[in-house]
Amino acid sequence: MRRAGLTSVRTRIARWAGDWVALWNRREAPTALVMVRIGVAVVLLADLMTAWRLDLIEVLWAPPPDGFAYVSPKNPPWSVRWFGAGPDLAFGLWLAAVIACCAMAIGAATRVACVVFVLVYAQLGVLAPDSDRGIDVLMRIVVGILAFSACNARWSVDAWVRRKIGKPMPETVPAWPRYLLFAQLIWMYFSSGQNKAGSEWFPSAGFTALGNVLSDPHFARFDPGWVEAIHPLTRVATVVTMLFELGAPAMILFTWWHVTADRPGRLRRWSNKLRLRWVWIATGIGFHLGIALTMQLGIFPWGMLAVYPVLFHPDEIARGAAWIRSRVRRGKSAG
C-alpha cells in the first residue's frame, strides 16, 4: 500500500518534470523576440543619446571635479581599475553602450553586442548608482536573456549574412527566452505590488497614491490643478494599479487558459469569455501610456512597453500584422 503510494508520487513527479522539460524545449517563430530586441535597443539608444544631447556624459559618469560619479576607493569597479576614472572612461563606456545598442538594433554580432551592453551598462550603473533606476536593471536582465536567444533570426544583419553564406537561420527558434521574459515581466509587477509600503496605496489612506504622484512637481508633466478635477478617478486608477500588480501572476493562468481553450473547466471558459488575458494586457498598456502622458519618468514606460511583445504568441503577432496590412490596403484602395 505504502509502496504503491510512493510509486504514484514518483510517477507524478516524473510527469511534472517531463512537462517542465517539454515546456522549455518548445520552438516557435522568433517574431516576438526580434521585436523586443529592436524595441529595447531603440529605447536605450534614445536615452543614451539624450545624455549626449544634454552634454551629461562626463557629468554623470566622471568623478568630481568633471562630474559627480561615485568611485569606491576600497572596491573600484573593473572599468576604473583597468582604465582609470575620468572623462575618458565616461565617454568610452557611453560609446561602447551606444555601439552595442546600434548593433542590437540592426542585429549585427547580436550575442556579443548583448553581452557587451550588459557589462558596460552595469559599469555605468556602478559609477552613477542614483541614476541607475529600476528600468535600467530590467533592461540589463532583458538584454542578458536576449543574449542567449535567437532574437537575431529575423530582420538582422546576422540573418542576412547567414543567408548569404548558405546557412540560413531556422524558421523556428527556442521559445524559452520569450517564456522567461514573460515570467520576468510578471514577477516585476508582482514584486512591485508586494513592495508598495506607503498607506496611500491602500484603503486606509483612501487610495490616494496616484493622485499624490501626479501632484508631485518632481514628476508631474502638467500643473497639478487638473488632478483635483479628476481626483476620484485617480483613486480608481490606484485600485486598478494594485489589482494589476498583485494580480499579475493570474496572467500566467489567463494565458494558459487561452492556449488550452479546447479543454474543459468553468474558470477557463469564463476567463476566455471575459477575455481576461486581453483585459490585463490592455490595462498594462494603458497604465504605461498614462504614465508617459502625465509624468516625466524618462524611458520607463517605453522600456516596459518594448518588452510587451513577449506577452503574445508569434502567430498572434503575425495575425495582427496581417490584419493591419489588410486595413491599410483597404484604406488605400478606398482613397
Binding site: 518534470a17 522539460v21 522549455w24 524545449n25 536615452d47 539624450t50 545624455a51 544634454l54 551629461l56 554623470l60 568630481p64 571635479p65 562630474g67 559627480f68 561615485y70 557589462l119 552595469a122 552613477a128 548608482p129 542614483d130 541614476s131 541607475d132 533606476r133 529600476g134 540589463r140 542578458g144 524559452w176 522567461l180 515570467a183 514577477w187 516585476m188 514584486s191 512591485s192 508586494q194 513592495n195 508598495k196 509600503a197 506607503g198 496611500e200 483612501g206 490616494t208 497614491a209 496616484l210 493622485g211 499624490n212 501632484s215 508631485d216 512637481p217 518632481h218 508631474a220 500643473d223 497639478p224 488632478v227 483635483e228 481626483h231 485617480t234 516625466q296 519618468l297 524618462g298 524611458i299
Partner: protein, 187 residues
C-alpha cells in the same frame, strides 16, 4: 550532451527562477522591522541572513551585471513631499530662483535637471536624501557660478510641500537640505 541538453536547460531555468524569487523575497528593511515589529525582528533577521546565505554563490554575477529581483516602483507616495529649487545670489542681493521643479516660469537648466538620471540624484527617496545629493549639489552650484558671474553664491534647496487630500500642493516655506557654494570658496 545534446540528448541531455533539454533537461539540463530546464533545470538551469528552474534554478534561475528560484534564485530570482529568493532574491526578490519581500523582506522588510531591518530598521523598519525593528521599529514596527520589534518582537518579530530577530526571526525576520534570521530568515534574511539565511536568504542572503543562499544567494552568496551567485552574488558575483549580480555584482558584475548589477541585477536584482526586488522591484519597487513608487513604493511610497506620501503627502509630504519636496520641491527642488536652484538659486543664485548676487553680492548684497536677494536669492534669485533659476529653477523650481514643476514651475515653467523658472526653468533654467530644466531639460538637464528633469532628465531621469539627473533627477534620480536630487529627488529624495521618500524622505531620505540620495547618496549622491551632496556631490550633485557641489557640481551644480559650481556650474551656476561659472555660468553666472553676477552671482556670488549658489544653492540647491528642497522646499517642503504638502500635497492636498484631493491633489495639488501647497508650499510650506520650510527650506530643507540646503547646499550652498560661495564663489570665494572656489577661488
Amino acid at each position: 550532451v545534446s540528448r541531455w541538453w533539454p533537461s539540463i536547460r530546464a533545470a538551469l531555468i528552474l534554478l534561475a527562477c528560484m534564485i530570482g524569487v529568493i532574491d526578490g523575497c519581500p523582506v522588510p528593511p531591518h530598521d523598519q522591522t525593528r521599529k514596527y515589529a520589534p518582537e518579530w525582528a530577530p526571526t525576520i533577521l534570521e530568515i534574511d541572513r539565511f536568504r542572503l546565505g543562499l544567494l552568496k554563490p551567485v552574488r558575483p554575477i549580480a555584482d558584475l551585471t548589477l541585477i536584482r529581483q526586488k522591484w519597487s516602483l513608487f513604493s511610497g507616495a506620501s503627502l509630504r513631499r519636496f520641491q527642488m529649487r536652484l538659486e543664485g545670489k548676487p553680492r548684497d542681493g536677494q536669492w534669485k530662483t533659476l529653477f523650481r521643479a514643476g514651475d515653467d516660469d523658472v526653468a533654467m537648466y530644466a531639460d538637464m535637471l528633469h532628465y531621469r538620471r539627473i533627477r534620480g540624484v536630487w529627488n529624495p527617496s521618500g524622505q531620505r536624501l540620495r547618496g549622491g545629493y551632496d556631490r550633485f549639489c557641489k557640481w551644480m552650484n559650481t556650474r551656476v557660478l561659472a555660468d553666472h558671474p553676477e552671482f556670488d553664491q549658489s544653492r540647491v534647496v528642497l522646499e517642503r510641500i504638502q500635497i492636498g487630500a484631493d491633489g495639488g500642493y501647497t508650499p510650506t516655506g520650510e527650506l530643507l537640505h540646503e547646499r550652498l557654494l560661495d564663489r570665494r570658496s572656489i577661488r
